[in-house]
Symmetry: C2
Subunit: 427 residues, 2 copies
């Protein structure tokens, strides 16, 4: 694969309408290709991402230089940066998607009507998936692989900070698609239309079947507010652990430590610890000591402050904050009901866990807390597509429509009813 | 139940925010009440709708008189009108919802992780369902019953034409809820806020979990365009039947007649008939003769007009029209591919059926037509929750997210992951 090949296979300069229409046509082809063909495409992409490393990294350097000039934050710069190691990891991730079970054609349910008409509900691709994200070129490859495996075409809007990297990545993916005889328009970027690209994606009813925003709360809120296309919201996690009166001390210490410290920058990390008043004296000392050893800053309510020095005052804002850092908010609550009420008020309904030895408390917490994932005696870090055995993760949905919690390939499909008759009419 | 009781139990004049908050609290209660309690409420509603007939019909007369004054169309007036027979039918429908299986708590899937953590995905209510509809008081009772059975609270915006009827129906439902000790705020109307009620429902993120518009294409398009709350779209049906080259003549005649004539005003009725060119001479004469006997007006393309006199010229607009009347568009197409292409262009993706004796044609049609329901050798009139065995029908979804095709009680639920550990943390 040479630079000349790029120029030949890359999509020429098209209007956005032409790209939308091309995506729809490509989706129609993808909907009925075999799993073998889709896996061949994924294997070709996995190979191409490594084979074209020089081209990808050159483009990435341009984006990094532009970012430096425009004062891009250290965090975003880190997300933007690719290197040989990251490309190898991306390539491996695509290979893993190829190894997953194809959701298309799976039978969800079926029955025979009394008149002999046969009814089957099967999984089918959505058609065209739109993705709007920011400065994360790995998403370009990830979401393309997941969409292709589930038989969908994608229209990508990856943001100006990664524009050059994404353009080359899409070229590389399109070359791989062409090499196995699949339509290159199955994966397209609309980055060249800048802000208008995102706006048009959000209004592309009839072309885009579902839109997935990935990124900051601001980005997600904008998409939800402005989109007329159905959206799957992958949201923030103000995640809670509640230490019940009967919580085992060692379990409390280990789970709180793991949930907060193992990877604080992700959405399933613990943000607010609630402690039953009757167990505060027993549990807070060992739990907070372990957190402090790990360098965690404790933002505490009055009852906690009365027991410990060297803690920061928690304000009202702390209860609603997703720190994504080595910070934790701590509050002593009167009882289980108060814990459930606190969670109902401040949670983003991602994941909450109760640590308890009491069966009644456990069942009440599981039934009454209205979050995507509710746990008893387990670390909130388990809310993850990989951990749940989905193989790959599209994101974690915090909405209630269509998908809730970790989304796998199945969540990138819709369904279709297939009705087989022998001439039956309705009486 | 007396008029005095009404004044006591009816919701006092509240702000719309207070109603939203009350709905959310009621939803929290409903989410965990037993099926027995919900069924008791439904039985009480079924009895109350008949017992309070005088009050309901008085209010309905006021709406009918206002409608007459405002020049309400005959069709809308008919939808608005209640009488003892219709109330009895409404009451019976509520009783049927009580008899359905409760979807809440149903286990969708589950597994054990390698570390022993147990994972279960269960159905839970959405929380608060918003409904926006027009001049159909039966929807007030129907959707309330379906929402309650699936553990949801509802906020209803039924439109000014039925305002008095709906207010009394909601009062009657609330009295029934109170009589079994359930929160009356589980069913509320926001009709008194007039247009602002609909607007606020569409923007009630955090209060309303899903919004269901029922009514005209205009109404549905407005809700889809303006809502920031997730919407389930129940759409129009430009429904197709394709007579393949090998279609059996008697089957073609009977299915086309049934699909078009049995109940032309509903969304699963046939609108466009496509005929394979090689079978046009064989099939069109008996099929069209039978339709004409039934008084159907035929809007035909050139190829059909060349074969028959006394047909209306079909224009481009006819292919995209949902007549909902004894009219049909007829087009001769070159082959199966042309039929699939026509459907891809003009269908609203509701229901399409192929009449064929050829296995390859049948399978290609089922695989390549991208509609909620695809059929072979069956009448499109089978696309119906009742026919599918769902017992009740919330509507027929023409979107791909969350629900597609006839929606039953299960489609009024979300899911929740329940994770049971014994102290496990992530490695």
């Amino acid at each position: 694969m040479t630079d000349t090949a790029v120029t030949e296979t890359a999509v020429p300069s098209l209007s956005i309408e032409a790209k939308f229409e091309a995506a729809r046509l490509a989706a129609r082809t993808l909907a009925t290709v075999t799993t073998d063909r889709k896996n061949a495409a994924l294997d070709a992409i996995a190979a191409a991402v490594v084979a074209a490393a020089d081209r990808i990294l050159s483009a990435n350097e341009v984006d990094l230089a532009n970012g430096h000039e425009n004062g891009l934050s250290t965090g975003l710069t880190d997300r933007l940066r690719l290197d040989d190691g990251r490309l190898a990891a991306l390539s491996a991730a695509v290979g893993e998607v190829a190894a997953l079970t194809d959701p298309v054609g799976q039978v969800v349910r079926g029955s025979s009507l009394p008149n002999g008409v046969g009814l089957t509900q099967v999984r089918v691709p959505f058609g065209v998936i739109g993705a709007i994200y920011e400065a994360r070129p790995n998403v370009t490859v990830d979401i393309s692989a997941l969409a292709l495996k589930s038989g969908n075409a994608v229209l990508l809007r990856g943001g100006s900070a990664a524009e050059n990297t994404n353009r080359v990545l899409v070229e590389v993916i399109q070359e791989a698609l062409a090499s196995v005889g699949l339509p290159i328009e199955a994966v397209q970027t609309v980055d060249e239309f800048v802000r208008d690209g995102a706006k048009r994606l959000m209004r592309a009813r009839g072309y885009v079947d579902v839109l997935i925003p990935r990124g900051s709360a601001d980005l997600i809120n904008t998409v939800v507010a402005e989109s007329t296309v159905p959206v799957i919201e992958t949201g923030a996690g103000v995640v809670h652990v509640f230490l019940d009166e009967s919580a085992d001390e060692e379990m409390a210490v280990e789970i709180v430590h793991n949930a907060k410290v193992q990877r604080p920058s992700v959405c399933n990390a613990l943000e607010t610890l609630l402690v039953h008043a009757a167990s505060a004296d027993r549990l807070l000392p060992p739990v907070l000591a372990r957190l402090r050893q790990a360098g965690v800053t404790i933002h505490a309510d009055e009852a906690t402050r009365a027991r410990f020095a060297d803690v920061v005052d928690a304000t009202e804002a702390d209860w609603a904050t997703e720190y994504m850092s080595l910070d934790i908010a701590v509050r002593v609550v009167d009882d289980l009901d108060a814990a459930i009420a606190h969670i109902a008020r401040y949670s983003t309904h991602h994941t909450e866990s109760i640590i308890t030895s009491d069966l009644v408390s456990a069942e009440r917490f599981l039934a009454q807390v209205d979050s995507a994932v509710v746990m008893v005696n387990a670390s909130t870090r388990f809310t993850d597509g990989g951990e749940f055995g989905f193989g790959a993760e599209v994101g974690i949905s915090t909405q209630k429509l269509h998908a809730r919690g970790p989304m796998g390939l199945g969540e990138l499909t819709s369904t279709k009813w297939i009705v087989r008759g022998a001439g039956q009419v309705r009486g």
